[in-house]
Symmetry: C2
Subunit: 479 residues, 2 copies
């Protein structure tokens, strides 16, 4: 594809994703309502030198039309005591939210902050300190205004549109966001990539040269080559992006190797064959019979572990879900069930861990490996298996190693899960949920769930086929 | 067990295995007939300075009552031409065998020699050169008379009985003989172990201190410690025994690590709990239903590959059988059939390769591992699996490595064997036999064969259970 065709595709996408005049007006109006309320509450408490400030993608003008997130900070001078900022800041935020939106909920990062919903927007009000470039941050959120200032000083309006394209691309391929569920690219990281490489296409091209765990992007060229080597050793992340407002911070610290790989894969494919589908998907739907046929043809076994969704903050939830998933997988593996796929689905109410096994029923007999012939623990092994009712054979040597045919404790995955799930190291809240409510689902039961729930059905299909709308024109080719 | 009980057990065993006066007389008589005939034939050909000589265990008086092997060498002075010895030696041997036994068969080691059967004995007549200690051997067999002389000079009559005990013990546990089928302890090796350690029990005790691939037994203490280190590097066998008549030769070169392990295992058990069973077994019998139950309870799959036995010399046959067995095993493994056991049975007429698989039917879907994310061949992998009809999914990254769900070519072991057995690198004669006559046997067919053939039935039982009579009092404990 030549450059003109690229530009016309990207321009048409930009037209769809860039906020319109009325979008801008609406957001401005909402922000104004909150900042006015905050100012009022500050004044009521006699705080004259603190102020509300809109931050995030709206302040940087890198937001997408469909973005519904507004971040408002309440910035105090550094002369204020931490406890005061924490307490009074939170009260002001709470009262302002109640006044404007009539509701609030308490969130917690390093300090408590307030989240509320208003006219379709999710508004977060966060107290913090006002600091300047180079000053030490007092709380983790204090860096945000510096990021805003940095991005606004670096990016031209044209480049901010390039940020929008890259954000939408990352969303389209499923790797946008630094939260644990995604472990992808944060908004600030996206902005820095455009600042460094210039535009959307240049970032895609550059990604093909990135060496995992070896690439350091130093936007402000502040590091010497020795410091870059040190950064590689220090961060051990697939990509290292030095924060221009704090050279001791890696902006890409949340990015997983798999999100990194997915981005490079998608970028490679886009550069070969660009399409809207990278940005918008293709509105996939999957019928129950299509899913059933797919599962049938694989001849594998799929097991679901279903329980209630713990009601904890999003990042904690996904940390727990992934940890628990890994433990369930390891439990099955350690008893010789060959897990060839694993994933977890959650809609906020229910959780289903899904595991694809080559077989859910395995043989009684297991060829169990012992120590090498002539090793120190040889005799222990021989004596242990001298008269063991669990064994199908005596020990035997094969190419210099001892083995024995043992009887497996579990030959059915269902039995193993039923007996040992609660003691396999699940995370606290998941364990509690499972101890109260557990369904171990077989193939038929999973398909029943998939029949009732379209989202779950598409989840299963994508999990099994690793379907990406941007690879195939018709997904018939994918099976 | 105290030493007295040991001695009474060993004495009673010795009584059973030591040749009686009439055994000696009978052997002497048979030997005399052949040596007389050889002398006559040599004289007829005008060869005055060559002579027949009884060698092997009979010459060394280390033979067992039930030994039916007699070795007779025809020794020529070194002045004779090699071609002459080969030609005339073979003719003399052949004519003598015909005269005494009325039949002969041609065997071949380095030179052709003659084998015949007479009055229940297997008599081998081998031409060679008469050499003295320290002289260079001209043919491989020339060393044998030196071994005879060495053993006779070293071992007392009491020690020769200890050799008999050790030989019988090695036979009883299945590791006597240097031939490829066994890869165990040769007669000469057995004699040297008694010469070095003194008696039967001392060899058993010493074996517990042997470190595989690191123990050098230097009967005549001819090697310096540096030379011993060199010998370890040179031979790479589980046990190294320097030949006292040729320090550049390792008498234990044929011993496999598994026979080595088996001997140490049996020796350990004997020292704990001595019994006749180590020497004589326990006359095991196995019913078809017992075997069928055993197979059923393991829940695995057993497959037989049956063909005609190639009519080639014993050592070549077993070399081919083991090589072919390994290739069949590797064929199955390379297509993801998990082979947990393999063995081959042959009665001289039929051959059955047996393979125990966890499953003989596996799933269509396979989680296939690709290159690491960011490696040079990443793109090749992604493009190869872009639109591959054999795939169940697109590629995906998991912990930094690419994978894809592929469709397996073979999901039934039977189909794989039917299609690919002839092209998996079988040995020449086995391949030829299989190309003419092949039965792939399922569990039922194997049990049919086992019903008709007691030897095959016991073979299957021992293979599956690794049954040793000397471990269990009743084999009920073994299942």
């Amino acid at each position: 594809m030549n450059n003109e065709l690229y530009s016309s595709l990207l321009e048409s996408i930009l037209l769809e994703i860039k906020p319109s005049k009325s979008d801008y007006e609406r957001v401005r109006e909402v922000c104004r309502k909150f900042t006015t309320a905050i100012e009022k509450k500050l004044a009521e408490k006699g705080v004259k030198d603190a102020e509300p400030r809109v931050e995030g993608s709206i302040a940087k003008d890198t937001w997408l039309k469909d973005d519904k997130d507004i971040d408002i900070f309440i910035l105090f001078p550094k002369t204020y005591d931490r406890e005061f900022v924490k307490k009074v800041g939170y009260e002001v935020a709470k009262e302002a939210a109640l006044e404007v939106a009539g509701m609030y909920s308490e969130e917690y990062a390093e300090h408590p902050y307030v989240s509320t919903n208003y006219e379709g927007f999710k508004v977060e009000i966060v107290p913090g300190y006002k600091i300047s470039f180079g000053e030490k941050v007092l709380t983790a959120v204090d860096r945000t205004p510096l990021h805003t200032a940095y991005v606004n000083s670096k990016l031209s309006p044209v480049q901010k549109d390039q940020v929008r394209l890259l954000k939408k691309f990352l969303k389209g391929i499923g790797v946008y966001g630094a939260e644990i569920k995604v472990r992808g690219f944060s908004g600030y990281l996206t902005e820095l990539l455009i600042a460094y490489y210039g535009d959307f296409l240049s970032v895609l091209k550059a990604s093909q040269t990135w060496k995992p765990f070896k690439t350091v992007i130093d936007v402000e060229s502040k590091l010497s080559s020795e410091e870059k080597v040190k950064a590689i050793k220090k961060y051990k992340t697939p990509l290292i992006v030095i924060d221009p407002v704090d050279p001791n911070r890696n902006v890409a610290s949340a990015l997983s190797i798999d999100s990194f790989a997915e981005f490079r894969y998608a970028a490679y494919m886009f550069l070969i064959k660009p399409s809207r589908k990278f940005f918008f998907g293709d509105g996939i739907n999957v019928s129950v019979s299509e899913l059933a046929n797919l599962i049938e043809s694989r001849e594998s076994s799929i097991i679901g572990v279903e329980t209630d969704c713990p009601q904890v903050p999003e990042d904690i939830l996904w940390g727990e879900l992934y940890k628990s998933l890994k433990r369930i997988k390891n439990l099955l593996l350690s008893f010789d069930f060959n897990v060839i796929g694993h994933n977890v689905w959650c809609n906020g109410e229910r959780v289903v861990f899904v595991l694809e096994l080559e077989r859910d029923t395995i043989t009684s007999v297991k060829k169990h490996e012992g120590p090498p012939v002539g090793s120190a623990n040889e005799i222990d092994f021989l004596l242990k298996h001298l008269n063991n009712p669990r064994d199908f054979s005596l020990p035997f040597s094969e190419n210099g190693k001892w083995y024995v045919y043992m009887r497996r404790k579990y030959t059915r995955a269902h039995d193993l899960l039923r007996d040992r799930l609660l003691n396999c190291g699940l995370s606290k809240d998941v364990r509690e949920a499972i101890s109260k409510n557990l369904h171990i689902l077989n193939k038929t039961e999973l398909l029943e769930r998939a029949k009732k729930n379209r989202d779950f059905r598409i989840f299963l299909f994508k999990w099994l086929t690793k379907y990406r709308p941007w690879v195939y024109d018709s997904r018939g080719e994918c099976k």
